[in-house]
């Protein structure tokens, strides 16, 4: 399962022109961003952002409103193109120009609005745009089996039938379907935008478990979240953006709630919590 997680020889010379603020993550991260900048007209959204997303780890991307979280996500997802900077996928330099480029690499994004068609059922949504065909017609049996296996693999068992329209699902179930849809395609990196916003306690629990399961499957996961409880529950690594700059990026143990808030609001933190265990 972990084919891509093996230590790549620190593939030469690359990218180290920009000095990284990231802690040395040991093995080559699945996706490495160096010096990503992006502006929209006169507004500079990102200033030379570095970010590492290692496989088998959950990286939380934190930041206040307007910090550039969404822009950074869209740059990785191929919706926006960075003006400057480099991206390395498994150590190889890559350019992601369109969402299809991202999908080809194995990058899937679960947006906050989930992008599900309410009138279609779970199977139809999970295969939307990539339907399986047989003799030119839809192969419903094969799609239903595969969707069922993926959902079972993620322990999404609360839906009554995988043939029910998405409109009849609860918020947590919809999120689960969106995540399952994202991981179905041999994805290696899944980015989730505020996955627990607008969810109740039990449903939040379900989604957090789901995220941990993705990690266990060896995927790189990036979670964008305002909710520090969630961050400290599922993340292995934390990256904090403030006003378009990456102000902190380290293992979770290097942070506590207060220091994350400090970084988000002021860009620095005087607290040193390096050795303090965080539950």
């Amino acid at each position: 399962m972990e084919a891509h997680a093996q230590p790549n020889s620190p593939s030469a010379n690359t990218a180290n022109a920009t000095e990284s603020t990231a802690a040395p993550a040991g093995p080559e991260p699945l996706l490495r961003l160096r010096g990503i900048s992006k502006h929209f007209g006169a507004v500079q959204a990102l200033y030379g952002v570095d970010l590492d997303l290692p496989a088998g780890h959950v990286t939380a991307l934190c930041g206040d409103n307007g910090a550039g979280k969404s822009v950074l996500t869209k740059c990785i997802a191929g919706i926006n193109q960075p003006d400057e900077g480099q991206m390395f996928w498994d150590g190889r330099p890559v350019t992601i120009r369109t969402p299809n480029d991202a999908a080809a690499l194995g990058i899937e994004t679960v947006y906050q609005d989930l992008a599900l068609a309410d009138n279609l059922d779970i199977v139809q949504n999970m295969f939307l745009g990539r339907e399986r065909l047989q003799h030119g017609l839809l192969n419903e049996d094969s799609m239903e089996r595969a969707a069922g296996e993926t959902l079972a693999g993620l322990h999404v068992t609360t839906v009554r039938s995988i043939r029910q329209p998405v409109a009849t699902l609860s918020g947590g179930q919809r999120q689960a379907v969106a995540v399952a849809k994202a991981v179905m395609w041999n994805s290696k990196l899944v980015m989730l935008d505020e996955p627990t916003a607008a969810l109740g306690v039990a449903q939040t629990r379900m989604v957090l478990d789901l995220i941990l399961r993705l990690k266990d499957h060896g995927l790189a996961v990036m979670v964008i979240s305002h909710n520090l409880n969630d961050v400290f529950e599922v993340a292995d690594r934390v990256a904090v953006l403030r006003l378009g700059r990456m102000v902190a990026q380290d293992a979770l143990s290097a942070f506590d709630r207060q220091s994350v808030v400090d970084y988000m609001t002021t860009g620095t933190s005087s607290r040193d919590v390096d050795s303090e265990p965080v539950n």
Partner: protein, 447 residues
């Protein structure tokens, strides 16, 4: 390869999972389609009743409307002539135009769009076909029909392209098309203002006129029906029982049988009625050719919408265009194609109408035809708001509109009352659509 592979999930990981509490919040359980959760016919009926109460009644309203209209008009028509074989066959012929138009309009309604031009686009389809079987062209009828359909498809492509590429609302573009094609229609009809297809000397005209006025021999009709029903039963039975065997979501056995029995009853009723003698002086029997033509259209478009990738994408675009775009679906292409299919199907309706009237004149009421088509589709159960609709909705809704049209005519009510009644029926159907949408809770109202 890091596919989620359930077989490889270590058991320890599973054991470590906290039991996820089933979340009962916000799930509107009563709108789950009953056929996917029911294990038996009784359970199906209970789930179905729950769904009807939840606001999604499926085909129920249109079937109730059909029965109600039949009872009312049978009761009030002079000598109960409404249910006579002659009138029922007449009703099938009249409804055919509404049915096919409604099937066409269904494609754009499915995307939450509307096409107001199809009345006159249908007329153009009829005129092109009729002109090509005039003695000076003398095309064989299949070529003439193909040309009529292609012309209409071209019109749909132009309108659809303007709507999707320039981002102009369909309402405006097709309203402009309504006037434009009305004008074009008058031009191509020429100074005579009409084109006829009633000559018995031109083979193409005989064939076109025969769509409505030539009949299938009774024995052939019974044989054809037997073949169709056996094929349908075979397909339905094998699909459903195969899915049940392999543990996929499938309707209960009783429902599969009920579907086959219902189709058999409907088919036998139609063939039986058409094979009764309805002649006044000479015996007249047989199924008009328009009936199998409707059936072919129904099957073809149903397969396209419900069994192909393109059809799936149409539903997706109708339900959530943004999600479709992100899923890599070419939303503009799907929307343009919906207008192409709509206009092309309208062209077929125009050809049937031409056959029924024996030709086309400038008096054709393209405006009210459009409204009848929208009314028929919505009465049948297609949503005006996109994302919900089937081809069979056009068939059933078209029958209701045809029955109202026919019944009011039998009563000798002048056109003004027909218009008023049809307007009220349309309003009622749209109200049912809007109200059922509201009852279905947050998820749908938002989308």
């Amino acid at each position: 390869m890091t596919a989620i592979n359930p077989q490889n999930v270590p058991d320890a990981a599973i054991a470590a999972e906290a039991e996820t509490a089933p979340d009962l919040t916000a799930a509107a359980v009563d709108v789950i389609p009953p056929e996917i959760v029911a294990q038996s016919l009784g359970e199906y009926l209970r789930a179905w009743l729950a769904r009807v109460r939840g606001g999604d009644a499926g085909l129920l309203p249109v079937l109730v409307a059909l029965v109600a209209v039949t009872i009312v008009f049978t009761a009030v028509s002079p000598r109960h002539v409404f249910l006579s074989a002659g009138n029922l066959v007449n009703l099938f012929d009249q409804s055919a135009v509404f049915i096919v138009l409604a099937m066409g309009e269904g494609f754009v309604l499915l995307l939450g769009e509307i096409d107001l031009s199809i009345g006159y686009v249908a007329a153009i389809g009829g005129i092109v076909t009729a002109q090509l079987v005039q003695p000076n062209f003398n095309w064989p009828w299949p070529a003439a029909m193909a040309a009529g359909l292609l012309a209409c498809a071209g019109i749909g492509f132009i309108q659809g392209t303007i709507i999707t590429r320039l981002g102009i609302p369909a309402f405006v573009v097709t309203l402009a098309g309504y006037l434009f094609w009305f004008g074009v229609m008058i031009i191509i009809l020429g100074p005579a203002g009409q084109v006829g297809i009633t000559s018995a000397l031109v083979p193409g005209q005989v064939a076109l006129y025969g769509i409505v006025y030539a009949y299938i021999a009774p024995t052939i009709a019974w044989l054809g029906l037997a073949v169709i029903l056996l094929t349908l039963a075979n397909i339905l039975w094998r699909r459903d029982s195969g899915r049940r065997r392999s543990g996929l979501v499938a309707p209960p056995v009783g429902l599969t049988i009920a579907k086959i029995v219902l189709a058999a009853i409907a088919g036998i009723a139609v063939v039986f009625i058409c094979n009764l003698n309805r002649g006044v002086i000479l015996p007249v029997v047989g199924v008009p050719w328009v009936v199998p033509l409707l059936l072919i259209t129904l099957v073809l478009w149903t397969v396209l919408l419900e069994r192909t990738q393109f059809g799936r994408h149409m539903y997706a675009v109708g339900g959530n265009p943004e999600a479709s775009r992100r899923a890599g679906i070419n939303v503009s292409r799907v929307r343009t194609m919906a207008f192409v299919l709509c206009s092309m199907t309208a062209g077929l309706a125009g050809i049937i109408y031409t056959s029924q009237l024996g030709g086309v004149t400038t008096n054709i009421a393209g405006g009210s035809l459009v409204l009848y088509a929208v009314a028929a589709a919505v009465i049948g159960g297609t949503s005006l708001f996109g994302g919900r609709g089937r081809v069979i909705h056009g068939l059933l809704g078209g029958l209701v509109i045809g029955a109202i049209y026919n019944g009011l005519y039998l009563l000798g009510l002048p056109i003004q009352y027909q218009l008023i009644v049809t307007g009220l029926v349309l309003l009622a159907a749209v109200s049912v659509d809007s109200l059922s949408r509201r009852n279905r809770g947050g998820a749908l109202v938002k989308g």
